[in-house]
């Protein structure tokens, strides 16, 4: 059995100033929204955050930005956030933009014990500056390094008390690879179930990667509500 929490503030209690956090989600889809809110309340500072995006002004990781809790962020796309722009221009926030596939593979590699890998993405661009390159079969590749974190914060649809996780639809996104890449993985689940209730053939994140679990209710805000034209 893993540590099962009933309060989000208890679940994030061990996260201290200066920690590196890997945070699941794509846009606002599949983000561990209650864990993020608890970090805002706890007020931990000087965080390094690795996440595909950085929320919007008043939601998701945007809540931590607004409260000046983040020193550095690694992301592939951050265009949805005015406070983000202000802090970058003011020199308050350091940003490393990473091609999305490279970000995903750096996290996957981090969880899989692979220190670095070669990829074609970014060859001949600003991303390649200062990076080692190598030619394989006549084609140039960049060496990219794995990412690991002190804590992984993920959101799953179902989780059992051993820590097995199942994600729902495209709320899966970065969550499984992030669950594997952190030293301590905290899973916010929509439904906490007993062992045996999840089909072992359909587990996305096996329990071995998960340390702490908490069930919560999410708002699941929608960033771009688009409907069929009628």
């Amino acid at each position: 059995m893993k540590e099962i929490y009933h309060s989000f503030s208890d679940a994030v209690e061990s996260i201290n100033n200066g920690a590196t956090l890997l945070v699941g989600g794509f846009g606002l889809c599949g983000i561990p929204e209650n864990l993020i809110k608890a970090l805002r309340e706890k007020g931990v500072k000087n965080l390094t955050v690795v996440s595909n995006n950085c929320g919007i002004d008043d939601w998701g990781l945007g809540l931590l930005l607004e409260n000046k809790q983040i020193d550095k962020i690694l992301a592939s796309y951050v265009g949805e956030n005015k406070e983000f722009e202000r802090q970058v221009i003011a020199g308050e926030l350091e940003v490393e933009l990473v091609p999305q596939g490279t970000l995903a593979e750096r996290l996957r590699a981090g969880g899989a014990g692979i220190p670095a890998f070669y990829t074609p993405a970014g060859v001949g661009t600003k991303i390649a500056e200062g990076k080692e390159t190598r030619i394989f079969e006549g084609k140039e590749y960049l060496l990219e390094k794995a990412i690991n974190g002190d804590f992984s914060l993920v959101r799953a649809y179902q989780g059992d008390s051993f820590g097995n996780l199942v994600y729902r639809k495209t709320a899966q996104n970065f969550n499984p690879i992030i669950a594997a890449a952190g030293r301590v993985t905290i899973a916010e689940v929509e439904h906490l179930v007993n062992p045996g209730q999840l089909n072992p053939a359909f587990i996305h994140t096996p329990s071995i990667y998960v340390n702490k679990i908490i069930q919560g209710t999410q708002e699941k805000r929608i960033e771009r509500k688009t409907l069929k034209e009628v």
Partner: protein
Amino acid sequence: MSKDRKAMREMIARRAEKEIQDGNYVNLGIGMPTMVANYISENKQVMLQSENGLLGIGPYPTEEELDADLINAGKETVTAINGSAYFNSAESFAMIRGGNIDIAILGAMEVAENGDLANWMIPGKMIKGMGGAMDLVHGAQRVVIIMEHVNRDGGFKILKSCKLPLTGKAVVNRIITERAVIDITANGLKLIEILDKSSFEDIQSVTEPVLLNQTK
């Protein structure tokens, strides 16, 4: 957006649809490329990939179908077709880099005659990030750019060399604008089709590199 501009974008999207073959796996970029999905012929079976982790994007949802857990890479709510699959982001880019996407249709700020693409960053303006574009341009079997032929000031977007920071070097196969279809080849840019009433000289005058006239 003006009515004319909307009609022009629709025309480009309709022409881009002709690039998609029956049975193709296709990735459509954000913005005008996403519109191409509206015009895919019912005679073609096409699987649309969204790099956030969906193979088999369906139409936009009705109010009843709306689901916060089901979005495309532009963060728009979508549906999934019968026979679709969900997967994580590493898997998504493994299938992209692995060469399984037949065609990627993307937007651009600039394209150079050697196929260099710039579509993610304007120095001095807020940097939003490249998202998945840098991975896609190397993974897709064919990269087709759809864009307006010139920029808002009438300046060239098809250039001898890109001025803006690159997304990828020598990655573009074909450019489709409201005026022309142009292929990037080892021998230079080939004008394949004229889409309006322009002459070859008209198209050349809005295109910086020398064009080879291959129109029929």
